[in-house]
Symmetry: C2
Subunit: 443 residues, 2 copies
């Protein structure tokens, strides 16, 4: 026998065994259904692209973390590190035919050669939705609604979508004379929840070269607490009324968002204005979103995004403003695990029913009854081997089956089936017409 190869995954990569994959598929399918219900269309793009397409011409900061190499045709290629850049490239090619507004979602793995850590992998799933080709605030408002409906469909009740607006932040920065330092100021502000007000002010002074007084004014606004209306009023007051045009537009967009969400039936308090949310990326220019789980805020935002002025400027002269957000699938799964979310059942089978196997001559019968259950929407596995009942029940137990359907020579002769509730360990004998109902009761 030749030497065995050690069966291992790369550092920072992981397998999804069934107990993790079953919930992941459920999360993705739920996201798919919610996105589709709002009219977002699915697209997909290749994992591998020209390095230039993904990274631009200069060596940006993504260069370090991207998997790039020369293919056999000596092309410089790279694995996508997010779904946004490929979407921009896609939009430059396809939007002229597809027209605008264009709403898309995309789901798939992305790759980043970063230091892996708890819950952080080098391959992880993103699940994005965006509306491009419109500056209308209606698209921004919708993003908040989608996030609400998504987490509701994911069976969370205690969560909050926090919104802010870069125009408002920039208006504030303009009104205190530090608009040219917006990027570093907002990067510091983004750390407020993590490092606290004093450290943020220190950092702003050091990194963004603003005065402590200016940093303080940013913080006063960012820390505004209260109802959405109170925060909006505080924001208006903080720079002497809505005289700054940017700030006025940002305030107006937030006001419309809150009002429309209320009318559309989103529960009170679900969407909360939080002026401390800045999002690190320079790229955002309007509304920004983060989503926090009330029972696990420390895990950070599980769905984030924002409005941007121009998606595809690297590739096309067509100006494509847009707005969207991204569900962090692996972070969410980690949260669901920690919160013992009802979908984290540990079950290893997607089918709840096991048909036991007494004799290979009955295999056609077992598959016939199983197909009857499947046609009724109930998953049913036929145990493939004729083994002792004990072994088959142990298998059922290990996998997490809920019910067993049983027939040996005696039952076959009588034309009946036993249906066993594997949780309660109770059994009924029914004729064939009764099997589906009996199984439904046992599940």
């Amino acid at each position: 026998m030749p030497d065995l190869i050690e069966p291992r995954t790369l550092q920072g990569f992981r397998d999804y065994p069934p107990a993790l994959m079953i919930p992941r598929e459920r999360v993705l399918q739920t996201a798919r259904e919610v996105y589709r219900s709002y009219g977002y269309s699915p697209i997909d793009t290749p994992a591998l692209e020209y390095a230039e397409v993904l990274l631009g011409k200069g060596g940006g900061e993504n260069d370090r973390i991207v998997y790039k190499f020369k293919d056999n045709g000596d092309r410089d290629v790279a694995l996508r590190f997010d779904l946004t850049v490929p979407f921009a490239r896609f939009a430059a090619i396809h939007v002229p035919q597809l027209g605008t507004p264009f709403k898309r979602y995309a789901m798939g793995p992305v790759w980043r050669g970063e230091r892996p850590g708890q819950g952080r992998y080098r391959e992880f799933w993103q699940c994005d939705f965006d509306t491009i080709g419109t500056t209308s605030n209606a698209a921004d408002i919708e993003v908040a609604l989608v996030i609400n409906d998504l987490f509701t469909a994911l069976q969370f009740t205690n969560f909050q979508v926090r919104v802010n607006n870069r125009l408002l932040l920039n208006g504030l920065l303009e009104s205190i004379g530090v608009l040219d330092k917006a990027a570093p100021v907002l990067r510091c502000l983004d750390k407020l929840a993590k490092i606290g007000r004093e450290k943020v002010i220190e950092e702003m002074v050091r990194e963004a070269e603003v005065t402590a007084e200016q940093a303080g004014r940013v913080l006063i606004l960012a820390e505004a607490k209260g109802t959405n209306e109170e925060i909006l009023a505080a924001a208006e007051a903080s720079f002497g009324g809505p005289t700054n045009e940017k700030a006025r537009a940002g305030l107006q967009h937030l006001r419309e968002l809150i009002a429309a969400a209320k009318t559309a039936g989103i529960p009170d308090g679900r969407i909360a204005i939080d002026l401390s949310i800045a999002r690190g990326l320079d790229y955002y220019t309007g509304t920004i979103y983060e989503t926090f789980l009330g029972d696990l805020p420390k895990i950070g935002s599980v769905c984030s995004g924002g409005r941007y002025d121009n998606l595809a400027s690297l590739y096309t002269k067509q100006v494509l403003p847009g707005v969207g957000a991204s569900l962090g699938v692996d972070r969410l799964l980690a949260a669901m695990e920690e919160l013992k979310h009802p979908w984290m059942t540990g079950q290893n089978t997607p089918a709840p029913v096991l048909v036991l196997n007494f004799d290979s001559q009955y295999l056609g019968q077992y598959q016939r009854i199983a197909r009857m259950l499947r046609a009724a929407g109930i998953g049913a596995e036929v145990f493939p081997e004729v083994k002792r009942l004990k072994a088959q029940f142990e298998y059922a137990d290990k996998r997490g089956f809920k019910a067993a359907v049983i027939a040996g020579a005696e039952e076959m002769a009588k034309g009946v089936w036993k249906v066993k509730n594997l949780t309660k360990r109770e059994e009924v004998t029914v004729n064939e017409e009764g099997v589906i109902d009996a199984v439904r009761i046992a599940l």
Copy 2:
């Protein structure tokens, strides 16, 4: 403005725009549901693995076509070129905990740097299901049932699952004294449908170094036509009765498969024994499967697989026999396009209803009614911009919406909505309680 980067995909790669992606998602979701209904569990493995894990220690023939490179940590890594090798590595790690039998499905892209061609891409999707850890023919029989139920769920009616058994073929080869030449003989036989009997005999003589008489005997069996029973009888006769142990076992397995499928309710003629199917891979050792669309046989098999003796011998001493098949997603989509399958609608929206936008002050109302429709299971998009009705209807037309929900100032004042069937161009006015029913009628 800096120079634009040309927005292009790599040669042999492609985007999936909505009109292609909507059917792809439907195909994948259908496969998922059928696999799950039989108790196959989802798993996923990384796209990127140690090159050694994917390619073994020697430089095999896959080396040429595989995307491999050194990552930033100087590891030799490669992109998976199928889902079987990663499954073998996965099984070596996880099956000790998961136990056997273990049934899994996996779906995802794989990468091969082969010459691209019509319908052949360097990134393409596979969609595999397998049962491992059992030699029971029940698992083989189930594979044929799954394929039947899968293509039925994919709304094909005219298709055939062709089955054969390597044991039978090997028994024949043994009985005519050429078992040691099985691999090249079967590779030649595999071309029968493509190049015809005379050329196959020529090739067998040349490549496999058998006599023309021996090749002829292989062909006589391979070309046996008739009902499954007639073919089984011919096979038995062709080597003087079932005296060869391999052949007897192969025949017995095929007989059981045909009988159990009939009992389980698979339509007559759907599963057909075809002794000419050999499948190129050395790797198969028992039942083999190919699936042909009756209306487009020339596209080749759209779902193929077979039984193998030991999945993970490269990585573990645990012997893992198994059986499974793989749906060729991209080939199937190409076939569906050519056959004008009902799922290839060209629709660019997954939501059938468009709520028109008359005035941004009503946006909350539009989203409220849209959320009502979504809660009733009907996808509804709200047009984000206040545009001329003509432009909104053109958008509806271009995307393929089926119905529009319309309310301006007048309707809002009266508390009514107009529902328009966009196909028939007919409109009704209903009060709010009537909207869902009116939309259902219009779809």
